[in-house]
């Protein structure tokens, strides 16, 4: 029973997604491209970097990369927190 409901949900979701996908602009011809054109045209003289992707990652969207570095830090902190030595006796648990 649960399996049947799950399968129906899955097919509804799939139909939903696939029907959406065929409505997107044709592959290889994105439009509009205002933001990306601006970045491709100005990346070199604004950031001095030849790699446009690097200038997007670190300059135009620098905060995302700070967030991304933070996520890595968070995950490492989480992993080391969970795999910690528990020599001292825990009071709370």
């Amino acid at each position: 029973m649960r399996r049947a409901i799950g399968l129906i949900l899955l097919f509804v979701l799939l139909a939903f997604l696939v029907s959406g996908m065929v409505l997107i602009h044709p592959f290889g011809d994105p439009s509009p491209t205002d933001m990306d054109d601006y970045i491709i045209d100005n990346a070199q003289n604004q950031t001095g970097s030849n790699s446009v992707v690097a200038s997007v990652v670190f300059d135009y969207r620098g905060l995302d990369t700070l967030g991304e570095a933070t996520i890595l830090f968070t995950a490492v902190t989480g992993v080391l927190l969970l795999l910690r030595t528990q020599k001292r006796k825990e009071e709370g648990s």
């Binding site: 604004q46 001095g48 570095a69 890595l72 080391l80």
Partner: protein
């Protein structure tokens, strides 16, 4: 621990992997690559050492507090580079036009100049440091835990 052949080859190969990883990090602003990618390359070398030797042996050379400090330092350098732009705006690329990495290349296709990019190469180094330390720590911690050992606090 694997056979002597594997260990010897791994010992020699780690140097090349390290150099390639550092090359990818250093040229992040000119070629495809950057801090994350180069860091992942270096960490793949660490994984190779983990396979060739044992996690017990590796624990002695890669100690957890050292990795922790390296990781925090990388993250801090990144954040401080963001803060350094606060004279104008957070994340303002304040190094463009300065003597350090401040050259601006001619617009259009070109051979690429290492001393360009403003703070981007510095950020690549910070992120590379962070990724190397962070992912090594995660992999080592999981490997040690699976063996029933623990990293020292």
């Amino acid at each position: 621990m694997l056979s002597k052949i594997v260990r010897t080859v791994a010992n020699q190969l780690i140097l090349f992997i390290l150099i390639f990883g550092l090359y990818v990090i250093a040229h992040g602003h000119l070629t495809p690559g950057g801090g994350f990618q180069g860091g992942a390359v270096v960490v793949s070398g660490v994984v190779m050492l983990l396979v060739a030797f044992s996690s017990h042996d590796l624990k002695k050379s890669l100690r957890e507090p050292v990795l922790s400090i390296m990781e925090s330092t990388g993250a801090l350098i990144f954040a401080i580079l963001g803060f350094a732009g606060l004279g104008t705006v957070f994340f303002y690329n304040f190094l463009v036009g300065s003597p350090i990495f401040g050259r601006v290349p001619p617009t259009g296709p070109g051979p690429g100049d290492f001393w360009t990019g403003g703070f981007i190469p510095l950020m690549n180094f910070a992120v590379g440091l962070k990724v190397i330390a962070g992912l090594s720590a995660v992999i080592l911690a999981i490997a040690l835990f699976a063996r029933g050992e623990e990293m020292e606090e």
